[in-house]
């Protein structure tokens, strides 16, 4: 009914030149082939950051246990639409077509989640995804509880928060780095044979079984409070590994990473994330008074030279306009170099994801 309306609008959004070069890495190519069945050249933009490339690959291909694959992809599509991410939007749309959804069905969802052809419950769910992605303000826990009372499995709801959080991360990495667009994916149209085989393919690749009981055990590591909100779902492992990988990376000091999380938490008014960041900052010797001062000004003598440049950029990552953000990221690259820019884009994106998932607690 509304062919490609949003797709065309997204194409009106200028998309800049890549912020960092694509560096082909054979080891990463092998990982991509193993997980996705093919090498994806654009993913190699992230190849120089081992933790980030692993996280993005994992988040992009995560399979939910309680939430249907169709709903998971629809949630990703709505999130990409909200974040005006052409790259992820094209991907999500193509994957939905691979699942057998028609252009018409996808168009109806993307046009307006309130008037889409889906049933009332589904519309409500997608509305929740959009509010969570938008986070202006973040949806209250009551909205989550209402969906559970409508009949959604609470674990599926946790998975949807994880999917939206993960999609917010992917959108930010793709947008801030201006990952080259894959026009083949934007215009992808499956052949008649592929459409015919879609149900067979789904039968051959069923949803993974629920995570093992150990994922119900208390979670440790950075931001454990947030990770443990996803207990019993694949989200625990995905986010736990992402955070551990990010904080183990040697590119930036732990203190700087904690500042990144604290600033995003402040921008999104996420008290849980700010508490988690405060704990790490305290372990790194940053007292409460210094933390308060820095977070109020995003500057000050307590920050090192890199932090002084990074923090004002980080605050922009919560709510942004694509063109402005890409311009600011080019400027950041000129000041801190490619390696640091890649690192901070990943960290800020992960912090945004955590701040969204944390709504499960509030």
């Amino acid at each position: 009914m509304l062919p490609h309306a949003v797709a065309r609008l997204l194409k009106e959004i200028p998309w800049g030149e890549p912020v960092v070069p694509i560096v082909h890495d054979p080891e990463f190519a092998a990982d991509l082939k193993k997980v996705m069945g093919m090498d994806a050249p654009n993913f190699h933009m992230l190849s120089r950051s081992k933790w980030l490339r692993t996280v993005i690959l994992r988040v992009s291909t995560v399979r939910t246990s309680y939430l249907s694959e169709r709903l998971a992809l629809l949630a990703s599509l709505v999130t990409a639409q909200e974040n005006s991410c052409r790259f992820c939007y094209g991907n999500a749309r193509a994957f939905l077509k691979m699942l057998g959804l028609s252009e018409k069905e996808i168009d109806a969802v993307e046009h307006d989640v309130k008037t889409a052809g889906a049933d009332d419950n589904e519309r409500e769910l997608l509305h929740f995804c959009r509010d969570l992605s938008r986070s202006n303000p973040r949806p209250a826990r009551a909205q989550f509880d209402r969906l559970v009372s409508m009949g959604y499995d609470p674990r599926a709801m946790v998975e949807i928060a994880m999917i939206v959080g993960g999609a917010c991360m992917n959108n930010r990495v793709a947008t801030f780095l201006a990952v080259p667009l894959v026009t083949e994916l934007e215009n992808y149209s499956p052949s008649f044979f592929k459409r015919l085989m879609a149900p067979v393919w789904r039968l051959m690749h069923p949803a993974p079984p629920p995570p093992p009981p150990e994922s119900l055990a208390p979670v440790t590591g950075p931001f454990a409070e947030i990770v443990s909100l996803m207990k019993g779902t694949v989200g625990v492992v995905t986010f736990h590994d992402a955070l551990v990988g990010a904080f183990a990376s040697p590119v930036l000091p732990v203190r700087t990473k904690a500042w990144v999380f604290a600033v995003v938490a402040r921008a999104l008014d996420c008290q849980l994330c700010e508490r988690g960041a405060a704990r790490i900052l305290s372990q790194e010797g940053v007292g409460e008074e210094v933390r308060r001062r820095v977070l109020e000004a995003l500057a000050g003598p307590d920050l090192d030279a890199t932090e002084k440049v990074l923090l004002p950029w980080v605050r922009e990552t919560a709510h942004y306009q694509t063109e402005v953000m890409q311009r600011r990221t080019y400027e950041l690259r000129e000041r801190v170099g490619e390696e640091v820019v890649l690192e901070v884009v990943g960290l800020a994106a992960l912090a945004n994801a955590c701040s969204r998932v944390s709504m499960l607690a509030q």
């Binding site: 949003v6 609008l9 202006n136 008014d269 995003l298």
Partner: protein, 263 residues
Amino acid sequence: MTASLLAVAAAAGAALTALMLGMVLARARRRIGKLERAVTRASEDLERLERAFGRFAPEDVVEKLGQGAKEIAPERREVTIMFADLVGFTPLSERVDPASLIPVLNDYFRRMSRVIRDHHGHVSRIMGDGLMALFGALVPNSWQSADAVRAALAMRAALDELNAEVEKRGLPPLRFGVGLNRGDVVAAVVGSDQLMEFTVMGDAVNLAARVEALTRAHGVDILVTDSVRTKLDDRFEVRELPPAEVKGKSEPVRTWAVVAFKD
């Protein structure tokens, strides 16, 4: 023989009916196609409008208005309000040909709006040669006061740039006064079916307007209240001015002139 003729006639009739039905269906499909294209265009326009209006009102407000909501519940929120007014523009407009002056005024608004947007604010209203801008009204913003003051300083620089061009045109340089205050306001969509706007109301708004007027009395261009100054770190150079009486306030109001920002 008659039976054969009847059969042929029936077949011909059926064929004719099928042909006519086919033509009707083809016509209907063409019309549906046209309608679909029209709906798509309308849908694109709507999306564009929603995105454009998102720069002037919060996304959820735009969405509710788009769905035909007659009334939107007002909300209380903390914002930083900026009033900016051109000093001596009215007498100037009486002396100078409007054809020369209006393009300058439009250029002024364009430059100021860009600077305000770059600092996370949005122009809420334009009143003659003045404007009201809000920081923290569309998206919650912890750094709204620092953003607003940095915007005011960037506006000062933008005005200097504009004046270099204005003087080349043989016109006197423009001067402005900017007043800033922070406080709780009621944010609402007000107006009628004919004209409505998303705006803020309350004592904090009135005080920002009064403080802007005080710039003339104090002979400075950027003036902030205590509620803004307490949110500024020591990179902002401010100078305290004597408390002044303002309409609607029983106590004199303390203000600070903003001198510079040292990054």
